[in-house]
Subunit: 118 residues, 2 copies
């Protein structure tokens, strides 16, 4: 459905391994690529739990609407970006991948996905 856009996003970010469009309800919409050692849909479901928690935190702090989350472990990173009330997009990177480029690419990708998701 979003194949080319997703593939282009992964290819344009050094160290990126996969991308997935997820519902906040934990249901995947579309994806491209696979991170090492984990299925992207499994990762996406876990990310949706984090996203719901972050959204709740933003509400409780009256800190505005959640827009972006970055998670980094000693092995990989993921940049999550809200697309709409219902959806977010997550891009995974291997250790040393370009987090700055990933943030930039998702910032430009999110509005394009939003217009296609409705």
């Amino acid at each position: 459905m979003f194949g080319n856009r997703l593939e282009d996003a992964v290819r344009s970010v050094p160290g990126a391994s996969a991308i997935i469009i997820m519902g906040f309800d934990g249901i995947p919409v579309d994806s491209y690529g696979e991170p090492k050692e984990v299925e992207i849909e499994t990762a996406g479901m876990e990310f949706s739990v984090v996203m719901r928690e972050v959204r709740k935190t933003a509400e409780q702090l009256e800190a505005g609407s959640a827009e972006e989350v970055l998670l980094r472990t000693d092995r990989l990173a993921a940049v999550l970006r809200v697309v709409s009330e219902q959806y977010f997009v997550a891009l995974t990177l291997d250790k040393g991948g370009s987090i700055g480029k990933a943030r930039y690419v998702l910032r430009t990708l999110a509005p394009a996905l939003r217009s296609e998701l409705f």
Copy 2:
């Protein structure tokens, strides 16, 4: 306890409003400054919920140890960095604050805090 280090960190990051050392259990250790419209200790407690969730996610994905989390809403941002098994440090920024500089400052601050927390 960590007064100067914390104040220095806030002052060295453009747009930073506050910093707090938190236990993963939600108990604050020390802080400096206040974000707009919210108490830093309240924010810290919410961040600890997010951090526990991220740590759980990293475990479930077998993705290594959580090291860093960035949260951004349309009004503010926060960079969270793991200090040790028990503690993390969170720096809050107003909209437009330098997230890159915040990440850098916490990367250098975390090891210094770790050695003081034990």
